[in-house]
């Protein structure tokens, strides 16, 4: 129960951060990718701000064996550049630019995105379910338990 509660607090803080940072606004996200137009650097500040606490967190992970609730920390994935990583990242980038939503803001948009957000989320969810059948069976993703 404590695990679910902490998870809920984490999700809430993430949602608040998305809102405050303006990453719920698709024009800011598309503006960051629009280097040949009216470039908007906000996303770089969001990413920089988010990496700071995480860089500290990874230092703490180095000195401990398990997380506070007992789970072992996730190991660093081997630096293997398989086909799925490359193709998937490119496909994600294209979809990200088309609408200006990535999975976090897309989910959060349920509460503010109207029908447009919902249509995007349905397309995204359908593709997530279908993706299991389209991926390289040797990839790390399909092997993960």
């Amino acid at each position: 129960m404590i695990r679910v509660f902490c998870s809920f607090i984490g999700g809430s803080l993430f949602g608040l951060g998305l809102w405050i940072s303006g990453m719920t606004d698709t024009t800011k996200v598309q503006g960051f990718l629009d280097v040949f137009g009216a470039w908007n650097p906000t996303l770089a500040f969001v990413m920089g701000g988010a990496m700071l606490p995480m860089a500290i967190a990874w230092r703490i992970v180095d000195r401990r064996k398990t997380a506070m609730l007992g789970l072992p920390f996730p190991p660093m994935p081997a630096p293997r550049f398989d086909r799925d990583l490359v193709v998937g990242s490119v496909l994600f980038g294209i979809g990200w630019a088309l609408v200006g939503l990535c999975p976090g803001p897309a989910l959060a948009s349920v509460s503010f995105g109207g029908s447009g957000g919902l249509v995007f989320l349905i397309g995204m969810s359908a593709a997530i379910v279908a993706s299991r059948y389209l991926m390289d069976p040797r990839s790390s993703q399909t092997k993960r338990t």
Binding site: W19, S21, V35, M51, A97, L98, C102, G104, A106
Partner: protein, 138 residues
């Protein structure tokens, strides 16, 4: 001011990721947390994933009450469906999105995550150039 709001919100997102890692022992990757709920790969910790997703939706739902929504999601349905499908498929294939690879992976200097984000941003910039400036579709 936009940059300051971005930085402040970013710090909160990073704090959420740090909390999820240090307390729950998990990577805060939304495509993974949500994807595992949808395709059954996260069956053994459904409640933990669900709690995160509910918080992620509930907080903006609360914020919108006194801070009006300022999003500009397109009304072009074919673009929405195509964009959603590419994001869903791409992030599952790459095993991460802006939160998992970007916030969590890059801060760990994981080579896979750095490559993934470089490719996604590169593809996004190219897509913007073609679809907005060449074809005028978005």
């Amino acid at each position: 001011m936009e940059w300051l709001m971005g930085l402040s919100g970013g710090l909160m997102i990073g704090a959420a990721a740090a909390m999820f890692l240090l307390i729950n022992g998990r990577i805060m990757g939304i495509s993974g947390v949500f994807g595992g709920l949808l395709d059954g790969t996260g069956r053994e910790n459904t409640a933990e994933r669900g709690g995160f997703v509910i918080g992620l939706i509930a907080l903006p739902a609360l914020m919108v009450q006194w801070w009006p929504s300022h999003t500009h999601i397109t009304g072009n349905w074919p673009i929405l469906v195509l964009g959603g499908a590419l994001v869903g498929l791409g992030t599952r294939m790459a095993n991460g999105c802006t939160s998992g690879h970007g916030v969590c992976g890059m801060s760990r200097l994981s080579p896979r995550s750095i490559l993934a984000m470089a490719l996604s941003v590169g593809a996004g910039v190219a897509c913007m150039a073609v679809m907005r400036h060449l074809l005028g579709v978005i």
